[in-house]
Amino acid sequence: MLETNNKKIKAIALDTGGTMTDSFIIDEKGAFSVGKAMTTPEEESEGILNSIADSLGQWNTILEDSGKSVEALVYSGTAMLNKLLERKGNSNIGVIVNAGFEDTHRLGRALQCWMWLDYSGRLHAREHEHPEPLIPRKQFKGVRGRINFWGEELIPLYRDETTKAVEELLDMGVESICVCLLCSYMNPRHEKQVARIAKKVMKKKNKDIPIILSCEHNPVRGETPRLNSLIIEQYAAEPSREQMIRISERLKEKGVGALLRILTSYGGTISPYHKSLITTMVSGPIGGMIGTKFLAELYGIKNLVSSDVGGTSFDVGLTMEKYVPTKWESSLGRFILNIPMIALDSIGAGTGMYVRYNKISGRLEFGPESAGYLIGVCNEKSGVETVTMTDCSLILGYLNPDYFLGGKVPLNKDRAYKYIKEQLANPLNTDPYRTARGALDLIEINMKNHLNGMIQGLGFRPENYTLISFGGAGPLHVAGYTKDLKFENILIPEWAAAFSAFGCACAEHSYRHEKSVDLIITPDGKMDDAVCMMLNATWSQLKKDISNEFKKEGRDPNEMEFRPSLRIQYLGILDDLEVQSPFENVKIEDLNVLTNKYNDLFEEIFRRGSKSPELGYHITKAVGTGVVPVPKPTLPEHELKSEKPSEEASKGSRDLFWGGGWHEGLLWEMGLLNAGNIVDGPAVIEAPATTLLVPPGFRVKLDKHRIFHMEV
């Protein structure tokens, strides 16, 4: 393959997990290769360079030779999240809050005790548990003073108490001070006063540590999530900043031309120099959503639902009318935050999930734990002794025991059969194959409920949606979890296993800032003037802030496209929706354009809920997103060949269990199928990283972008 030596790389997407670092590299023709290396937590750039080397090795090239042409360089990783989960962050943080609210972080919100549990865990009171606070209680100092909910000063800030609080924190040797006062999102005055006093005290004490204000970091209502976000930023995200910068620099040294961007929870990418990195902490499943949006645009699909089946979880996200909804209430390591996040929902239903028989209920039960990368009892060396979903798929003939991860892990079918028989089939008094299929059915119906719940929860029916399935195990289960749902179309990209990484490379370079505003549009319109003024002023401020962020990284802010939007609800209800504004400068006569957009969106999303425009509207937040252009990968077009696959792709046949009986299934090598080929079920299409199951009655067609379309 010497001819590939003069490869020109267009995009590199990096995904640093707890154990492995994946790199996904795309060349100028749209071809891609995937590399893997061990993660090196102490110095992440090592693992990253190794992973890139592994990937480029498949093309017989090295970064120094082919990296200059890189235009998109995107990082996502779990390092910051792991710092939080393993409680290995920097807890040497001082916090100043209103006096009387020193325990806000410790009290948390009771929902942090149960929101991570499944249905039965939520019922079972004994399982509820608060997350352990991140900072010792003594590092929280209260200062008297209060701003009220509409932003007026109720009690002036007590200056002497503030001085004392700062002095005490400095004497403790804290490395930064977070300030989070009630209602500062409406009026930042007290927080700014605290900052000024702190600076004076620091000067006197000859110290200089960062003072971070919640009104600047995240001026959004909800003191618990706002404070949590502030603390976690300092505890887990900030300590990783240097690592990010080092990765960027080392890649630059190797001649990579593009700037390193980090993927955020809202789907954009930001530079490692951005003032806040907390939005980059939950980027795991986000890549898949960006990839989904990319395909939605490419294929002109309005409503696309993404479904990602991994070893431990099943993630579902929606794009509606080509728009990816965001939610701003999210959680990390059981702490609620108020960072914007692509609306994704996960359930614990991955292929590594354990299947057990419960003798009390006489039923099969699943999870919640998972064998993860240990696969199942079929992986003899793993020491796993409990049957997993993968074991079930194996004995049913869906998986090739000699071709799992390209044959790197041999699977023992007899062992899987024996365990399924003993642990599940015998107690249920049924046959092991039926049992295995039944177990998969139950898990797949859970997935189906989850999918359907999300779609119907928004007032749609699956008929309005195209589904895309990815993740290593998506293609294996997609027929099962979409059965009976009548999706408009089902897409399965050939590169399903690397689809998330592909999505990362498609991400925009954007900053999203938001601010709570609480503006009321009354039915008689008497406050419209003030509403427009405040809204425009807030957008203008957000735009300025974002321009500065781009300036900081050396981009020309004139290149930036500014997308103003707002979050709005009927007055009195508590759940807002995000509406894109066609105006940066809204006039009184334009307000109804925005409210009409909201009415339409509300009706579309909550078909069953009556609109209540007679109550008036409440604009809760102004949101601004600044986007600068970055190159994105393109999908190559392949010439369409015959419908009949070539002999070369055929791998013989294997018996498959489906619908209560055995069927002879034809086997195909995925990489050798041609665009235009049609495969009728029963069949299995195998690739090293994934397996596509085409059950009897199903058929798949490979299109010009090498994406399978599944039909029933």
């Binding site: 039965s120 009171a125 004994r126 548990e129 009220n148 209502r221 209920s361 759940d575």
Partner: protein
Amino acid sequence: MLKKPIGWDGKTLMEMLNESEKFIKETKHYYGIDKLALKEKDPFNYERAYASLRGALVSSRETALHISASPIVKEIGELCFALYTPEGDSIVVSTGILVHVHTMSEAIKFMIRENYEDDPGINPGEVFLNNDPQEGNVHTTDVQTIIPIFWRDELIGWAGGVTHQIDAGGITPGHDLVAAVSRFDDGAYYTCRKIGSNDKIWKDHMINAKRAVRTPMYWELDEKCRLAGDLMIRDALFDFIEREGIDYYKRFIREAIEEGRRIVQERVKERLIPGRYRAASFFDVPFKEEAWQPRAKMDKITNEPIEIIVKEDGTLFLTFDGASGPGPNPMNCGIGAMEGGQWVLLTQILIYGDKVNDGAYFAVEKEYPKGTWCNPGDPYLSYQSPWGNLIPAYTGMMKAISYGLFSRGYREEVVPGYGFTGDAIQGGGIYSSGPLKGERWMLSTFEISGQGLGASAVKDGLDWGYAMWNPESDLGDVETWELFQGGIPYLARKIKPNTAGHGKYRGGANYAGIAMIAYSKDVDFFGAREGLVFHGAGGMHGGYPHATGYRLYAKNTNMKEIIENQKEYPLWDPDPEHGEFEKLLKGEIVRKAHCSIYPVLLENYDLVHFAMSGGPGYGDPLERKLELIKKDLDDGIYSNDKILSIYGVVANYDEIKGEWIIDEKATETRKNELRNERKEKSLPFNEYWENEKKKITEDKLSEPVKRMYSESLNLSIKWAKEFREFWKFPEDFQMEVK
């Protein structure tokens, strides 16, 4: 012409209900089903069917939450949905405030028994509303929307949704009133009333309902939300039937309930030991001083003894035999409330699997003695705050079952009880300045859903995170609550020391808030919580009960001056004996040992304090590990004096480190002292018994205690006999009350 019956196979709903009840009585199986044929034939399809129905319920609730309005419903999730059989038995339920699942069942049965089928008629697309505590509800502020679901011309089920309202138009603002003494004080009553057709709510009803309450906007939005959820359930059910067929559905729902019943039986067999379990609990109604109405001026203690018999076949029998009488106060309970409370607790401690339905109801045989507070049988009493009696009463059930769990070795499952969901402060006022001038605000925080849970036999209880009526409890954010009650801004929300019940494993701890009246006029303020009695017979195996509540507020304060001069104002009340209010404020400081008060009028700059409940402890405090005690001190869970007097631990505060250091040697000495004190204080049982009996014979009991026992003696022959025998009193013994 006679109308065609809407039940199955040409039967009326009443015939179906009678048949169902006959079956359960005669066969002990739901609908006489002794074999789960569908499950046995194809267990996987059966489970799939169940999962898809439950999935539909959960997602209907999620969606309805988005379109609902009242802060209680959205912020705290005070909403739940269930699907019922034609006879009104729940098949599958959503998450949320599960206490209501069985209540709606009673409402449906009421409509069937009253022959609604004939008059006012039950037709497709119609909507029924209920909030009558006598007929399957808890109190008037819980509002249920129930719709019948038809397949062709048969009624195949009901969908029901319930939300908790901020206000139902009672004698004072609020959702758990204190000042109601009769039905006519409870607010708007809708006794299973038809309020709509063609999937729409009638306009005349909506106009009426909105005028009947103080928060018309929330009422309307919540009505829309419940109906939307019900309709989504109906859609999902139609999908189900199209997929599985109507015959499968009909058989399936009965098997699912029978299976639910069996699951309880199996779980009981697995977790408990057959026998008779008993626990005591009480609630105080201190209205001699508080009440406005002459006939309500009476101090009462409610007797709430519970007895559970675990039978060998795994079924349970539960009785409140010995309960005292109802009263001219809002704490009386209808059967719906009793069933709801029991059901929700069973799902939290025993049957928390994903297959939860009215099977659990059928697995427990129960007795709510007539004429007592838990079954007064009088629709004209007030039932506005049944929680007052209900919450303490069922702590006894937790404790009784915990003895069973402990005996069987499930130490980690033990729960000796939980905190009362209070202090439920309420009231409201009118803005007198600011952008909302002239608008009404309501004090209605639902942070009461974050209380302390009892310790288990292996670890401490859950702090600030449990509500017996909603497994998905939450406190909400102050910044959110203030949007709705901005006339009473918070000055503090801080961990309150010494709320947690002491023990080797301590109960859950909690916090207290301080708030100040501002920008307002005409402010009513009241609250409710136990104050003079412990409930749940507190603690287990040597653990202590959690601290009781009390009332503290300040009127005509000098807060304005304090603020202007940047002087200290109170942020907490860590030691009620040396109060911060008294130390820092000038004005009228009201401190009462009882916690439930009638509304008082407050003015700007008045201050209120409200403390949430801890949970009871487990085991002897002397056995608590020293490192846990250090953490308790550092986290402000206990004060140093309590650590010294109860745990026998000597600790000193290290100013430089900013933490507590335990003096292990001094601790050993102190613990020995405590052990010796205990020895000195202890008595042989007979002596103790004699001393206690003397309190009765020498007339040393307080009036409320005597009244309580007098009522119990007169309401139950069985209980009276046991009481007299225990104390060796003559057969005609009575407790004399003036």
